[in-house]
């Protein structure tokens, strides 16, 4: 029952010990804090960088060139937007060098709303990220996937963008990560840094951790139902699950797909479900104009236009400049449970 933050931390610890991870760095990533969401506490190779996102991404690229295995953090994806030229270089340099160089590196960053983060701790980055060719992009929605996707990212020979839904980092998972201790309090004592002075603290990583991998490019079918399909990831995924569970009581049965990897995405899984249901909704919380859900919808139209039973849909964040501080504003800006429920109900019940 690890939290997502603990899961990421354990995967990184496993990566340091078994997968050659050399540097886990970024603003406040090293001691004493170990990350503003505790994801990098107690890690051997974690260190604090200057307050300079361009340097962070640049250093990651350079470390990858030098044969290291860096995991660089942008504290909040809200602060990644001055580095997009470098994010482009990270992937187009393999291509532009005709395969001469490749860049085994992970950029991790927290995304999305849900923590009363106001304008600058609520941004999403999936729309722009999926528009940059060459990035592999993962976006877990629970601790087990968070672990397995991090392991996959650390094994990959290409730049992997690891998006962390910040509202879920403290959520405990119903399932257990392979090797995770039974007792969650025991886990906490082993790997959570104590409050106060941490100078002499060292974590005890669970011995049974494995290289349990969630392969990049594989979606997860979380619920099965023949009436309609909803595809989501990150913070909005559990909303879809909750809505699907609620709709069962209304006799509506949903396929709920957790995309988990945004690029390259699991089209087979989506296609299979659409073929079955003929009804599909794509949900995410990035702003809705030029949104990745719109790409998935376009592909749906490309391949299934004549087989769809009703209009395919996208539910995303409103096209407004930010998520405001007041809860009223946040609720109105990004999909909440009632929005998801309404859309899902409408999709499933629309007459053919």
């Amino acid at each position: 029952m690890a939290t997502m933050a603990q899961a990421i931390r354990m995967a990184l610890a496993y990566g340091e010990q078994h997968l050659g991870v050399t540097d886990i760095f970024g603003e406040d990533v090293g001691p004493p804090l170990g990350g503003v969401f505790t994801c990098t506490q107690g890690l051997q190779t974690a260190w604090n960088s200057p307050l300079d996102e361009r340097g962070i991404v640049g250093a990651a690229i350079g470390l990858a060139i030098a044969g290291q295995r860096p995991v660089a953090e942008i504290q909040f994806c809200d602060y990644i937007f001055n580095t997009i030229d470098l994010l482009k270089l990270a992937t187009n340099s393999t291509w532009s060098s005709g395969g001469e160089f490749n860049f085994p590196m992970v950029i991790k960053t927290t995304t999305g709303s849900g923590v009363h983060g106001s304008i600058y701790h609520s941004h999403s980055f999936d729309a722009i990220a999926t528009h940059i060719p060459g990035w592999k992009i993962v976006y877990p929605s629970n601790a087990v996937d968070a672990y397995g996707l991090m392991i996959a990212a650390l094994k990959d020979s290409n730049p992997v963008l690891y998006l962390e839904p910040k509202a879920m980092l403290r959520n405990k998972c119903a399932e257990r990560i392979p090797g995770e201790p039974e007792d969650e309090r025991a886990l906490r004592d082993m790997i959570d840094a104590p409050l106060g002075d941490r100078k002499n603290w060292k974590p005890k990583w669970p011995e049974g951790l494995t290289d349990f991998t969630v392969p990049i490019g594989k979606a997860k079918l979380c619920r099965t139902g023949a009436d309609a399909t909803v595809v989501s990831y990150g913070r909005t995924l559990p909303l879809c699950l909750d809505a699907a569970d609620a709709l069962v009581k209304e006799g509506i049965h949903y396929d709920v797909l957790d995309l988990r990897t945004l690029m390259p995405y699991d089209w087979d899984a989506i296609a299979q479900s659409i073929k079955k249901t003929g009804r599909v909704l794509f949900v995410n919380e990035d702003t809705e104009i030029t949104n990745f859900g719109e790409h998935l919808l376009r592909r749906t139209v490309d391949e299934f236009f004549y087989e769809l039973r009703v209009r395919p849909r996208v539910l995303a964040g409103k096209h407004v400049p930010g998520v405001g501080m007041a809860p009223t504003l946040e609720d109105a800006s990004v999909p909440q449970l009632p929005d998801v429920l309404r859309e899902m109900r409408e999709l499933a019940t629309e007459p053919e």
């Binding site: 603003e27 804090l33 307050l51 361009r54 809200d78 701790h121 409103k318 400049p321 405001g324 800006s333």
Partner: protein
């Protein structure tokens, strides 16, 4: 009164009247108490995130008092960071409005409940919209600087930020753009060095004084003890005088305390660092400009004021959800706020609460 005046002249500051000193003290206390109130609001669930000024009062109250306040090119433009409440309070902003932004209320005049606390935007006083993105204000400041260089006169651009922020390229951008030969910009840059960026010690990230970087561009500069009101006032006065008359940049690196840690994310608890207000109070007592009792009364008065303000703010509504679509594009703003309309603690009509 005369006696008091003589004593202060010994500080080498002829304009340094007792009135001014007591006014600065009141402004510092006003800032501190409104920030303490804001922190209580996070704790009581009337707000979600706090970041603010405790520890920067001695640097920023003197700065705010010396600003040429007003709209347009003849006045000063301010590009501030999230520890700048003493500046806008000294300019005359109302403490209650800080609490309104803290509570994300519809009445928040700076952002309509949209932005974090202490993120100001006051058009009539040239206070540019503050962004939570560290150091971008240093890239934006060059724009008002260019306009003011062309305009002439004595209005200047003032930009401040933290020590960590100087690692961003935007800090260098400001140094480059403000020193183009023949096109120097009238910008006063202030870095408040509190020795940390969140949890990261500055000493682990740079080895030479920040001031050296300004010198490399030929920018005159001062390294000061920003916990000392007198040093701050003097360096700012000097810097402003230089920028106003020479129309060239000036840089101040001020070491300051960070009395409540980084923000509410790190607990906002009081830490063991020098308190600039206590230090200033000692000076005031030593000069016999006030008694301990008089000073305590200032604290009491302001604390009461903040508690009352909080009661008002508490009952105010959040903005409605539909509000998200407003002001995406330019439109006339509702006139619900006129920051200079009432006599306020730091207002120029208010001579320091005595």
């Amino acid at each position: 009164m005369d006696e008091r005046k003589n004593r202060t002249t010994q500080n080498g500051m002829p304009d340094w009247t007792p009135q001014l000193q007591l006014r600065i003290h009141d402004l510092m206390v006003t800032t501190r108490t409104v920030e303490e109130q804001a922190i209580r609001m996070v704790r009581s669930g009337d707000g979600w995130f706090w970041i603010g000024a405790p520890g920067e009062e001695a640097l920023s109250a003197p700065l705010g008092l010396q600003v040429r306040k007003g709209q347009g090119l003849d006045n000063d433009y301010l590009h501030l960071h999230y520890r700048s409440s003493p500046i806008v309070l000294a300019m005359g902003a109302q403490p209650i409005d800080i609490l309104r932004q803290m509570g994300a209320k519809a009445t928040d005049p700076f952002s309509r409940g949209r932005n974090f606390v202490n993120h100001f935007a006051i058009r009539k006083w040239n206070v540019a919209p503050m962004a939570p993105t560290i150091e971008t204000q240093f890239s934006i400041a060059i724009g008002t600087g260019i306009a003011q260089r062309r305009h002439g006169g004595t209005g200047i651009t003032i930009v401040n930020g933290g020590d960590g922020g100087t690692h961003e390229g935007d800090f260098a951008t400001c140094l480059v753009w403000s020193t183009r030969p023949g096109n120097e910009l009238p910008i006063l840059m202030v870095t408040a060095n509190n020795k940390y960026a969140i949890s990261t010690g500055s000493c682990t990230q740079h080895g030479t004084p920040i001031v050296e970087r300004a010198k490399a561009f030929g920018i005159p500069s001062r390294s000061i003890d920003g916990n000392d009101v007198y040093s701050s006032w003097k360096a700012i006065a000097e810097g402003m005088e230089y920028v106003r008359s020479e129309r060239k940049p000036f840089f101040i690196e001020a070491s300051v305390s960070r009395l409540n840690g980084h923000s509410s994310s790190s607990g906002a608890n009081r830490v063991e660092e020098e308190d600039c207000i206590l230090r200033f109070e000692e000076k005031l007592l030593h000069q016999e400009l006030a008694t301990r009792k008089e000073l305590d009364r200032v604290w009491e008065k302001r604390r009461e004021e903040m508690a009352q303000a909080y009661e008002i703010v508490k009952s105010e509504p959040f903005p409605p959800g539909e509000d998200i679509y407003r002001y995406i594009f330019a439109e006339p703003k509702d006139q619900y706020y006129d920051p200079g309309s009432k006599s306020q603690p730091g207002d120029s009509n208010n001579k320091g609460g005595r």
